[in-house]
C-alpha cells in the first residue's frame, strides 16, 4: 500500500498497467515491483524446481524471484525490480500452469524428499531409450523460466565505443563524490549507474548529508555533474564486465522505460568503454538469512523494505516484522515507524543488541518457522527458550551486507574474507587500473563512503597527473556491528537459493556425498547458478558448507563471478548483425547489369557473383549453364572476374621476392608476359594459385583467388616484414581499382577489337601476353590468360568504367552469338580443363597431389619447399588428382562422393578417395568429375566406384587424366 508523503514518485502522473491480466495503477517513478507492492500484490512468481510461491525479495537487479514476461515487448525474465513502469505496461508471471495461484507443478513440492540434490544423476536411466523420449522432454518442459517469442526479434539494438580518463561505476555516495572530485578537476569522466535515478542507497535511506536529505544531495550532485562538459552521465547503464587493458562492457537500457519509443530509437546499447582508470563504487548487497520456511512471499531484505518505503512511498505490508543480526537492520524499523507503518516486531539474533522504539523487540531471538500458503501470515519466534507467534504479512530480514565485488573477480581475482564485517571484500589490484571505493570495499557508513569516494578519486587523478582537491560534506557515521547468523536450526526447509530451490539441507547432503569443494557443491546442488548468479545466496551457502565440513569460510574458498555482472541480451551484444550486418557486402561494378539480366547472385567470399544468366524459355539453371558453356566453346562469353585478388608488387626486390613466395620462378619472366604461379604455406601444402604478370622490370601484378585474397596479402606482408625485411619491395592491393572481365571463346579477339583503340592480333598479343591498352579511349590493361581453356583475355579498366564496359562487352558478344556467363558455367569450363580451385586446393593437398610437383623449382628456396619434402607428403600412396567419367549405366557424379574399388564394400577402410568437383559437360555430353584417388596418376584407365550414401547413388567411373578437353591446349593459342 502507498504511504502518504513518502517517496520520489510523481503522484501527478498515474500509470496504468496489467499483471496476469488484471489492471492496476502506479505512478511515474515506480518500478513494476514497487507498483505491484503498492497494489498489495505479493505473489509474483514460482520457483524453479518445487514451483513454490515466490514474492519480491529485493529492490534491485539482483532480484531472484520477481522475474516476469513483459508481454507488450515479448521480453521474458524481466526483473520487476528494475523495470520502470510506463503507461500500458503489461506483465505476466512465469513458470506456472494453469495460473500463478494454482500451479499444477507445485506438486513437485510434495515430492521434494525425492528431488534432493543431484537426484537426477541417480535415476531416469531405465529403460535406455526413455531419456530422449520421456524423461528429458518432461524435465525440459517443467524447467526454464520465461518463454522466448519464436519470431525474429523485431527491435533495434546498437553498440558503441566510449573513452575516458576515469570510469566511475555506481552513482551512490562514493561514486557521486568520486565523480564530483574528478569532474571538478577537469578529467574526462564517465559515471555509469544501473539505476534510472542516480544516488544509489541515498535515494532509499533517510540519512542527512550536510544540511540536506541524502536524496536532495544526490540530486544536486547530479545537476552539477550534468552541467560539466567533461563528464558523461550514463544512467540505466550497467557495467557488465571488466576486460583487458581498461576495457569495460556496459549495457545501457535506452528505451525499456518508454511507453512508445521513437521508431529509430534502439532498445538497448552495448558500450565498450575504454578507461585509463576506473573506480568501482558499486555498493553492497544485503543478504537474506536461511531460517526455516524463509521463502514465503512477503519475506524480503530489510534494505528492500526501506527502498520501497523511502524511494517509492510503498509499505510492502500492513504489519512488518524485522529480523537481523546487525544494527543496520534497525533503521528499517525506525523508518517504518516514522512513516506510520506498523512494526510487528524487531527480532535480533544478538543478545546484546541495542534497539529502542515503539515496537516489540526480541533480542537473542530467532525466527524458526513461518506460515502462509501464498504469502506470509505469521512467524514463529524463539525467544528466551519460548516460542511465540507474531502476526506479520511482511518480514524484513538482514543477514548483513556483501560488498559488490563481482567486477573485481572478472580477471580471476579472488575476494578476501574480512572477519570484522563477515563478508568478502575485493582483493587489491584484482583488475589492473581499477580501484574500489565505498561500500564495495566494506565501508558502510554514508560519511565513510563520501570520504572514500573522494580519497580514491584523488589517488586516481594523481596517478593520471591531474591536480585535484576534494570537498567532502558531513554525514551519518553509524558503526556497523554484526554477528554471524547463517542458518537457523528448525523443522522446515531453509532456502539459500530461492530461484533454484537450494536449501541448507541440499548443501549438507552434497558435503555428505563428498562434494566438499565449493565448486563441486555448486555444480552438484546448482547453488548460485540461478539468474542472480548467487548474489543473494553464495556467501550463506559457503558458510553452511564451511560449517558442515569443519573449515573456516576463507579456507573453504569461493566460486568465481564471471561476466556479465547482470545478464545482457544477445541482441545487444550482437547488435547490427541481424539481417545482413554480420559481414560487409561487396558488390562488383557489374552487379546492377547482372541483376537486370535476372541473374541469381551467389555469395563468394564477401562478394556477390552471378550464378547464371537465364534466357527466355530456360526452365532450369542447367539449361542456362549448358548454353553458356556452349557459347564460350563456340562463340564468346563475358565474365566479371574483378573479385580475384590483385596485388601490385613494385620495387627492385620484386622479382627476388616472388621467387621466394612462389614455388616457380618469376625473375625469369619477361616484361609483358604472364605466368601461372603456385604458392605454398610454410608447412608445404598449397596455399593459393593464380597468374602474375610482369608489367615492368620492377613491377608485377599478382592475382589471387577470390577467397584467399586477404590471406595472401597478409602472407606477403609477413614474408616481407618478418622474413625478408631487407628486400626492397612494396605491395598495394589493387583489387578494387580495376574492374576486370574475362572475354573467352573463339571470337574473343573480335569482341575486344571492337572496343580497343588499337586492335590486337595473335603476334602482337600471343598467349600469356599482357600490356597496356586503350579501351574505348580509356587506359586499361589486357592479359591473354584463360581459365576456360579457350582463346581468352582478361581486360581491366578503372572501376568507375566497369559497369559501362561490362554492358559494352555483353552487347558486342551478343552481336556475335555470345553473351555473359556465370559461376556455374565457369565451373564447368574449368572442370573440363582440369583446372583446380579451392575445392581441390583445400588446404590438405600438396603440389605433388595436384600433379604440379614440377612447378616446385629445384634451383631455389621458397616458402614451404622444405616441409613439402617430408616423407608423408611425397608418398606414392597419397591421393592424387584424377579425372572421373561415368562408365556404367548410372551417369551421375556427386561432389563429396567417395571412391572404392568396383567390388569393394563402401566402408571407411576401403575408401580410396573422393570427388571434389562435378559438372555436366555439354561439350562432352557427360558428367565430369575431378577427385583425389590413392596413387591415382598411375591408375588412368582403371574403373572405380563412386558412392554417395546420402543420395543413394553408386556410379562406376573411369579414371582418367584431369584434363578432359583439348589436352594439347591448341584452343588457347588460336
Amino acid at each position: 500500500m502507498r504511504v502518504k508523503d513518502k517517496g520520489l514518485i510523481n503522484r501527478a502522473v498515474p500509470l496504468r498497467f496489467t499483471f496476469d491480466g488484471r489492471h492496476y495503477e502506479g505512478f511515474q517513478g515506480d518500478t513494476l515491483a514497487s507498483a505491484l507492492l503498492a497494489n498489495d500484490v505479493r505473489l509474483v512468481g514460482r520457483s524453479f524446481k518445487y514451483h513454490r510461491p515466490r514474492g519480491i525479495l529485493t529492490a534491485g537487479s539482483e532480484e531472484p524471484n520477481a522475474l516476469m514476461t513483459i508481454t507488450d515487448r515479448a521480453e521474458p525474465n524481466v526483473r520487476a525490480t528494475v523495470q520502470e513502469l510506463y503507461q500500458g505496461l503489461s506483465a505476466k508471471s512465469q513458470n506456472n500452469w494453469p495460473s500463478l495461484a494454482r500451479d499444477a507443478l507445485s506438486v513437485n513440492d510434495l515430492m521434494a524428499p525425492f528431488l534432493s540434490a543431484g537426484f537426477y544423476y541417480k535415476t531416469f536411466m531405465w529403460p535406455r531409450a526413455f531419456w530422449e523420449r520421456v524423461y528429458e522432454p518432461l524435465i525440459r518442459r517443467a524447467a526454464g523460466l520465461g518463454a522466448l517469442d519464436k519470431t525474429h526479434n523485431p527491435d533495434l539494438y546498437e553498440k558503441a565505443y566510449a573513452f575516458c580518463d576515469v570510469l566511475i561505476i555506481g552513482a551512490g555516495p562514493a561514486g557521486l563524490m568520486a565523480a564530483l572530485t574528478a569532474g571538478r578537476a577537469g578529467a574526462r569522466v564517465i559515471l555509469a549507474d544501473e539505476d534510472s535515478l542516480m544516488g544509489g542507497r541515498l535515494n532509499s535511506e533517510t540519512y542527512q548529508i550536510g544540511d540536506h536529505t541524502g536524496q536532495d544531495w544526490a540530486a544536486a550532485a547530479v545537476s552539477e555533474l550534468t552541467a560539466m562538459d567533461n563528464v558523461r552521465l550514463m544512467p540505466r547503464t550497467t557495467v557488465t564486465g571488466a576486460y583487458d587493458q581498461g576495457t569495460y562492457g556496459a549495457l545501457e537500457r535506452v528505451a525499456h522505460h518508454i511507453a512508445k519509443p521513437a521508431d529509430d530509437l534502439p532498445l538497448e546499447c552495448f558500450w565498450r568503454i575504454v578507461a585509463k582508470r576506473a573506480i568501482l563504487c558499486a555498493g553492497s548487497l544485503e543478504r537474506p538469512i536461511a531460517f526455516p520456511m524463509n521463502d514465503r512471499p512477503g519475506i524480503m531484505t530489510a534494505s528492500a523494505v526501506r527502498s520501497y518505503l523511502n524511494r517509492y512511498g510503498v509499505a510492502p505490508g500492513k504489519s512488518i516484522a524485522i529480523y537481523g543480526n546487525n544494527d543496520n537492520a534497525h533503521q528499517t524499523a525506525h523508518d517504518l515507524a516514522a512513516a506510520g507503518v506498523k512494526v510487528a516486531a524487531v527480532i535480533d539474533s544478538r543478545a546484546d543488541a541495542q534497539v529502542q522504539g515503539d515496537f516489540p523487540v526480541y533480542t537473542g531471538a530467532e525466527v524458526i518457522n513461518t506460515t502462509g500458503r501464498l504469502g506470509l501470515e505469521e512467524i514463529l519466534v524463539r525467544h528466551n527458550g519460548e516460542n511465540l507467534m507474531v502476526n506479520a504479512d511482511c518480514l524484513a530480514m538482514s543477514g548483513g551486507w556483501n560488498p559488490t565485488v563481482h567486477l573485481t573477480c572478472h580477471m580471476n581475482g579472488r575476494p578476501v574474507w574480512r572477519e570484522g564485517i563477515l563478508a568478502f571484500v575485493p582483493a587489491d589490484d584484482a583488475i589492473p587500473g581499477l580501484s574500489v571505493a565505498g561500500a564495495a570495499r566494506g565501508i558502510f557508513s554514508t560519511r565513510g563512503c563520501l570520504q572514500d569516494g573522494a580519497k580514491v578519486a584523488l589517488q586516481v587523478l594523481d596517478d593520471l597527473g591531474i591536480k585535484a582537491r576534494a570537498d567532502v560534506p558531513e554525514a551519518e557515521e553509524t558503526p556497523y556491528q554484526i554477528s554471524p547468523l547463517w542458518a537457523v536450526q528448525g523443522k522446515g526447509r531453509a532456502w539459500l537459493d530461492f530461484q533454484n530451490d537450494v536449501t541448507v539441507k541440499d548443501v549438507k547432503q552434497a558435503a555428505a556425498e563428498n562434494f566438499r569443494s565449493v565448486e563441486h557443491m555448486k555444480r552438484y546442488t546448482t547453488q548460485g547458478m540461478a539468474t542472480d548468479q548467487g548474489k543473494n545466496s553464495n556467501v550463506g551457502a559457503l558458510a553452511v558448507l564451511a560449517d558442515v565440513t569443519g573449515r573456516a569460510i576463507p579456507e573453504t574458498g569461493t566460486t568465481t563471478f564471471r561476466p556479465p555482472f547482470s545478464p545482457v541480451s544477445i541482441a545487444a551484444l550482437g547488435a547490427g548483425a541481424q539481417g545482413k550486418g554480420f559481414a560487409p557486402e561487396r558488390f562488383t561494378t557489374s552487379h546492377l547489369p547482372s541483376i537486370q539480366r535476372a541473374a541469381p547472385m551467389i555469395e563468394a567470399g564477401l562478394w556477390y557473383r552471378p550464378s547464371y544468366f537465364p534466357m527466355p524459355g530456360e526452365q532450369t539453371w542447367r539449361e542456362s549453364c549448358d548454353r553458356e558453356v556452349n557459347m564460350v566453346r563456340t562463340k564468346v562469353g563475358i565474365c566479371d572476374v574483378s573479385t580475384l585478388g590483385k596485388i601490385d608488387i613494385q620495387g627492385p626486390g620484386a622479382a627476388e621476392f616472388l621467387d621466394f613466395v612462389y614455388t616457380n620462378t618469376f625473375s625469369t619472366l619477361k616484361v609483358g608476359r604472364v605466368r601461372y604461379g603456385l604458392m605454398l604455406r610454410e608447412d608445404g601444402y598449397v596455399m593459393d594459385d593464380g597468374t602474375t604478370a610482369r608489367l615492368g622490370d620492377h613491377h608485377y601484378v599478382m592475382t589471387t583467388t577470390t577467397a584467399a585474397a586477404g590471406q595472401v596479402m597478409r602472407h606477403l606482408e609477413f614474408v616481407h616484414q618478418c622474413l625478408k625485411p631487407k628486400l626492397n619491395v612494396r605491395f598495394i592491393s589493387v583489387t578494387e581499382q580495376w574492374a576486370q572481365f574475362a572475354v573467352a571463346g573463339p571470337r574473343a579477339r573480335d569482341v575486344l577489337n571492337a572496343l580497343l583503340d588499337d586492335p590486337i592480333d595473335n603476334d602482337s598479343f600471343p598467349f600469356m601476353a599482357c600490356g597496356q591498352v586503350k579501351v574505348a579511349g580509356t587506359p586499361g590493361r589486357l592479359f591473354r590468360i584463360s581459365f576456360s581453356g579457350e582463346h581468352a583475355y582478361e581486360v581491366a579498366v578503372p572501376a568507375r568504367y566497369g559497369e559501362s564496359l561490362f554492358r559494352l562487352l555483353c552487347a558486342q558478344a551478343e552481336a556475335m552469338g555470345g553473351g555473359p556467363y556465370g559461376m556455374e558455367a565457369l565451373n564447368v569450363l574449368r572442370t573440363e580443363k582440369g583446372f583446380v580451385t579451392h575445392s581441390e586446393i583445400h588446404g590438405r593437398t600438396t603440389a605433388f597431389d595436384i600433379g604440379a610437383e614440377r612447378m616446385v623449382s629445384a634451383k631455389k628456396d621458397c616458402i614451404g619447399k622444405t616441409m613439402a619434402a617430408r616423407p608423408g607428403l611425397i608418398d606414392d600412396h597419397r591421393e592424387q588428382l584424377v579425372g572421373l567419367k561415368p562408365a556404367g549405366a548410372v551417369k551421375q557424379l556427386i561432389a563429396g562422393g567417395h571412391l572404392f574399388a568396383p567390388g569393394a564394400e563402401a566402408v571407411r577402410v576401403n575408401s580410396q578417395g573422393y570427388v571434389t568437383s562435378v559438372g555436366y559437360s555439354p561439350t562432352l555430353d557427360c558428367y565430369l568429375g575431378l577427385g583425389f584417388l590413392k596413387n591415382g596418376r598411375a591408375r588412368h584407365g582403371e574403373r572405380v566406384k563412386m558412392v554417395d550414401h546420402l543420395k543413394g547413388v553408386e556410379t562406376l567411373c573411369e579414371v582418367c587424366d584431369p584434363v578432359f578437353f583439348d589436352p594439347e591446349g591448341g584452343r588457347l593459342r588460336g
Binding site: 521513437a262 529509430d264 561487396r586 631487407k726 612494396r730 574505348a776 572501376a799 568507375r800 559494352l808
Partner: protein, 179 residues
C-alpha cells in the same frame, strides 16, 4: 566511337541527412598511393616538399578540401586530388583513383555517430582536425580523417560503399532519435 561511362562508388546512394548530420560523397580528381622504397623516405619527403605538399607524419593529413596528402598506413601516403611528379625509383606510386569510396560526415553529433562504428577515441581534444587513422568502420577496413570541427572523411573499399552508407544511415537515424 563508343565511350565508357564513369560511375561514382556511391552513385544513387548519397547525399542524405538525419537530424543535424549529413552524409555526402567526396570525389577527388585522383587517388594515388605512394609507398617509399627502402631507404628512400627522405628523398620522397624532399620531392613532396618541393611540390609544395608536406609529407604527412604518421596519423596526420595535410592539405585542404579537394587536395590532401593522407597518411595511409605503414610506409604509405594517399595523395588525394594531388599529383606529384618525380617519384620514379623512389617510391611505389599506384593509381587508386577507383579503389576507394570516400564520404563526408558533417554536422553536430558526427562524433556520436562514429562512436557507434569506430573503435577509436575521436574526441575533438584527442583526434583533432588534420588527424587521420587507419582503423575499421564496423567490419570494414577504413581510413578516417577529421577535416573540420564536426567533419570527417571516411574511406572504405569501393565495393563496400553500399554497406558503409547503410551502416552510417542506421546509426545516423538512431542518434537523431536520441537527440
Amino acid at each position: 566511337m563508343v565511350k565508357l561511362v564513369a560511375k561514382a562508388p556511391c552513385e544513387g546512394l548519397l547525399p542524405f541527412s538525419y537530424g543535424t548530420v549529413s552524409l555526402s560523397e567526396v570525389t577527388y580528381d585522383s587517388l594515388t598511393s605512394v609507398a617509399p622504397f627502402v631507404g628512400k623516405s627522405k628523398a620522397v619527403a624532399d620531392v613532396f616538399k618541393a611540390a609544395g605538399t608536406p609529407m604527412p607524419a604518421v596519423g596526420r593529413a595535410t592539405g585542404k578540401d579537394g587536395q590532401r596528402a593522407i597518411w595511409f598506413g605503414r610506409g604509405q601516403v594517399l595523395l588525394a586530388g594531388l599529383t606529384i611528379e618525380g617519384l620514379e625509383g623512389l617510391a611505389a606510386a599506384t593509381d587508386q583513383s577507383d579503389a576507394w569510396a570516400v564520404v563526408r560526415l558533417e554536422g553536430e553529433n558526427a562524433d556520436a555517430i562514429l562512436a557507434r562504428l569506430i573503435p577509436l577515441d575521436l574526441d575533438k581534444g584527442v583526434f583533432k582536425r588534420g588527424h587521420t587513422a587507419r582503423t575499421q568502420v564496423q567490419h570494414m577496413m577504413a581510413s578516417i580523417t577529421r577535416t573540420g570541427v564536426q567533419t570527417f572523411e571516411i574511406i572504405v573499399m569501393r565495393s563496400m560503399a553500399r554497406t558503409l552508407v547503410h551502416e552510417l544511415e542506421v546509426v545516423m537515424k538512431a542518434v537523431a532519435a536520441r537527440h
